[in-house]
Each structure stands twice: as C-alpha cells, then as structure tokens.
Symmetry: C2
Subunit: 321 residues, 2 copies
C-alpha cells in the first residue's frame, strides 16, 4: 500500500512553535505546539522542531512527509530561505531553510509568518479561489500579506505586505515601533485601540467604557467592541476613528491592486461585523469607484491555524508536484 503524503506546517512565534501535519487537500491531520526555546539566541529551535516531528511521525507508519513550510517572525530572503532578522527570537542572517532541511531530510520553504498566514487564507480560507488577495492581520501589531497573480509578493528586501506601516496620519501621528509616526499599526492594532480608548476615557470619564475601565483596572479592544454594541458614544467615537483609518488603508491597498478580497485576520478581527461594517463604509468612500465595486472586505476564516496551513500550502506549491 502506498504511503499517504503529507506536508509539515510550522509557525514560529516568540513563545510557542505551532506544528501541523496537513494533507494535500489542506486539512490538518494532527496539530501540536512546543515551547520556543530562546536560549543561546534560538540556536536549539530547529533541532527541537525536528525531534518533535520525528516523534509524532512515529505514530503514523502509513504516512510520509513530502515537504515542510515554516513561517518566521521577521523579514525573509525568500530565494535563499534565510532570515534577515527575527528580533524576538535572536536570529540574524540565520540560514533557516538549509538548517531545517538538514535536520528533517525533506525540502523546506521559509517565509515571513504574516505571508504564511496570508497564504493559508488564500489556499484554504476566505481567499480560496481568488487570484489576488490581501490579508491585514490586526493583532498586537498590524501585519499583512499580498498575493498577486496567485503568488506571494516579497519585494526586493522581504518587506512586501508590511501593511501595518502605511502612514495614515502624515503629521502629528503617534510614534510607532518601526521608528516612524502615524502608521496604521498605532491605531488599528490591539495596542493602538487600547491607546485610543484610554485617551477617550480621559475625555469622557462618565462613559460606559470609562466605568468598565475603573471596574476592571484595565481595558482591551474586546471591551471596546462590547461597549459599542451597548451604544456607548465614547466607544463609538473610538471605533469610528479606527474604522476610518483602516478603511483608508484598505482603500490604498485596493487602489494599488484591486484584489478579489481584502481579508482581516488576527485577534482584533474577531469583533466581526461590528468592526468590518464601518470599515467597509470608509473603504467605499476612499476607494476608486471601480475598486469599491469589485473588491470585497471580509473576515479571515482559519484563525490561529492560518500560519501552519499556509506554510504547508506553500510547501505543497513549491515541492508537492
């Protein structure tokens, strides 16, 4: 009997490494996590991944791994598969592809984690069946990935799809981790939303969201969306600002690429239509009419699995004949 052929998807984060065996139809067969070993600037990560994979594969004598894909948090030289820099891991010019290929004995494709998640949505998520897709990930920061003509766009130095650093407030915007000011990340990330919410709480100390802040001692973007649904005006004002600049960002990307879909993922996007509906309204206002009519804004569908599914999918595309 022939062996079943699977792909290995790996999604490297600052605290855990997500792993999954994925079949050629894009279904996860098994998934698990191991802690990210940051000791010695991450030098043990690759061998620990390989040991864990070999152990898990021992349970599946009728299956074989064809290839692996791995997403890493930082810009990647896609041609060579080396990581330019991954600050949270400790890697700099790290030859991830060759190290992992040696340890696993199968071909490996390496890409930026946001690109891998975008490729996941393209292969098996909200973007399935599209030709051109843009993903905007609203998490602690704002990331992104672009697929044009069914190919990921990496750019000349691996910064293609860095949508979080689109400047939406050209003058007097808040400082961003990237060194600039006024990036959409300072507004539409979980961190940015909390910052804007705290500013509004100062201005409206009698609002529902201000009361909630005093009760809980802290506030999250989830609180904001909940208070919007309870018709709190202060919260609505924050959401309006977030939606406006996110709609503007989507319009910029839309006017560049006119993709089939712009898909929002990450923790903040779990708010769903409460967020998406006003974002769409601003998108309609700022997008070229032909783009406004044809590019749709939707929520991602793969959640935290997008990274491993995308990594497996890209491995399949590159090596899975």
């Amino acid at each position: 009997m022939e062996k079943q052929e699977w792909l290995l998807g790996i999604d490297l984060g600052g605290t855990t490494v997500k792993l999954a065996f994925v079949n050629k139809e894009g279904t996860i067969v098994e998934k698990w996590e191991i802690p990210t070993n940051l000791v010695d600037n991450g030098i043990h990560i690759v061998s620990e991944i390989a040991s864990s994979v070999k152990e898990k594969m021992g349970k599946w004598p009728k299956a074989a791994l064809v290839a692996a894909g791995m997403g890493a948090p930082g810009p990647v030289d896609f041609e060579t598969g080396s990581i330019y820099v991954a600050v949270n891991i400790g890697w700099r010019n790290y030859p991830l592809k060759s190290r992992l290929e040696r340890e696993l004995g199968i071909p490996v494709v390496v890409d930026n984690d946001a690109n891998m998640a975008s490729y996941g949505e393209f292969w098996k998520g909200t973007g399935e069946g599209t030709n051109d897709l843009v993903c905007i990930t609203l998490g602690t920061g704002v990331g992104g990935g672009i697929i044009a003509n069914q190919e990921l766009v990496h750019g000349v130095s691996g910064a293609g799809g860095e949508l979080g650093h689109i400047t939406v407030i050209p003058e007097g915007g808040a400082s961003c981790n990237c060194g600039k000011t006024g990036c959409i990340e300072t507004i539409a990330s979980a961190t940015g939303i909390v910052r804007l919410t705290l500013e509004e709480i100062n201005k409206k100390p009698e609002s529902l969201i201000a009361n909630r802040y005093r009760d809980q001692g802290l506030i999250t973007s989830k609180d904001l969306f909940e208070c919007v649904e309870e018709h709190d005006e202060a919260s609505a004002a924050v959401l309006d600002k977030v939606a406006k600049y996110l709609g503007l960002t989507a319009a910029h990307v839309g006017n560049c690429l006119n993709p089939d879909k712009i898909v929002f993922g990450g923790g903040v996007s779990r708010a769903g239509e409460v967020l998406l509906s006003p974002v769409r309204a601003y998108f309609q206002q700022y997008a070229f009419p032909r783009v406004a009519e044809s590019t749709s804004l939707e929520c991602a569908s793969l959640g935290n699995d997008a990274g491993v599914i995308g990594a497996a999918g890209l491995a399949y595309k590159q090596y899975g004949n």
Copy 2:
C-alpha cells in the same frame, strides 16, 4: 534566408494611434502614427490600424510579425482581451483582441495603456532587470502600473495599478474626475499642479510665478518647475505640496509591495530631479524604514515610446516562442 521576427506594438490614444515594429531585443525598427478615427464610436479604428500595418510591412520583405500588443485607454478584461469601457474612444465591452487578431492574422495581447507603458519600462526602460516594479505616470491625469514577480497586476476588474486615485487628502480634498475627492491626481497631475499654482498666485500676486502668469496669460507645470529653479518662494511652496503627497503615495505603494523601483513617467516627470529630489525626501519620511532603504525612486527612460515598446514586449512574453 530566414525572416526576421518582429513584434507589433500599438498604443491607442484619444487623438493618435502610435505604432511600432519592435525586434525581440526591444529595439524599435520603425515607428509611426495614424489619427484616431472617433467616427461611429471608434468602429473603424481596428481596420485602419490593420491597413496601415500591412502597408508598412510591404517595405520589409525580409521581416514577419510574430504577434502584436495593444494598449487602450480604459480598464481591460485581460483574460478575454475586451475593453470594459474606453470613454474617449466610444468603446464599451469592445472585443478588441478578437477583432484585431482577425484583421492582422497574428495573436494579439491587449491591456490598459498605463500597464503597457509600465511593462515597457520593465522590459527595456528604467525597470529593466527588476522583479517588482511600480510606475506612476504624471500626465494630464495620474496613471500607474504594477509589476509583481515579473507579472502585471490587473486585479479582479482591471483596476489594478490605478494609483492616481489613491486618496491623499481624506477630508476636504479637491474633486476628482473619478467621483471621489482628495485623489493624488488632483494634486500631482499637470492639471492638479496648475490648479495649485493658480491658488498660490492668488495668495502671492507679487511672486515670480504670478508675474509670469500675467505675462503669458496662462501657466503650465513646466513654468512652475522653472520658477522653482529661479528660487521663487511661491513656486517652492506649490512644489513642496506636490512632493509631499506624491512622496506619501509612493510610500503607500512601497509599503504594500517593496518594489525594486518606483518609476515616474509622463510629461510632469520631465522636471527630473527638481521634482524627484523632494519626493524622495517625503518618501523616506513616510515609508517603512526597510522599504525606504531598499526601494528607489527614479525617472522613466522611454518617454512616449514606453507604450509601444511595452505592448510589443508583452506580446513577446505571451506569444514569442
């Protein structure tokens, strides 16, 4: 003796049709123009092109046309080669590819004129040798074209690369022909520059540019750049505004795609470094640092030939052996 194999490049404009025989190295062998016949909603254009081409080919018994490319002013369904709408010509859902193939007897590829010009710069102009290229054409309007992973990006309804309608003034911007307000086209097109210059002349009636306006009875973007070089403060203020928003636009596109180059073409770009130098400064301010370091801003090099060369180049890519 074997026949020389050439490509035919066609660039359709509202007043003239530019035509060229181009060899496989991308060199123009012969170029000429015919008037655009707008009678009966442009129904005669294709047959007049074919007659003209056949007549010219009569002079070259040792050459044969392999394929043709044609750029048209409007969004194109790239798959079918039909023109969704070309307002200035009178076409709507016009099957240009099939009509031209029937008349010429060779395979034809059809695309938007701005895309063809961008492809020209990619094949044989400033963008030669790049993997990812963005062209921004500053003419009567502002157009654009995007090449990612060496392929033109058309988008789901042919509006990919419509960079002129990126919204740079989200509130209170000038009205644009597209129906929106605040598009970069309202600022950095020849028309937009004249509008801003006239506003500044009203505010600074003693300036050099105001005097020139009174002397000549009209003013062009060329006048503006000349007065900047003569250190006229009013003109410098206009240029600063144009450069700021053009730099912001370039940064938006750069943050999306991190292309090797962003190339400026069209009549306004003939100003050269007077324009490009301040645009670069604003680009540095608004682009993600990694993009600011790696994406360069340059002037186009093919001038008015970009359209026919790009059309020939795309025909070669699609059908040239």
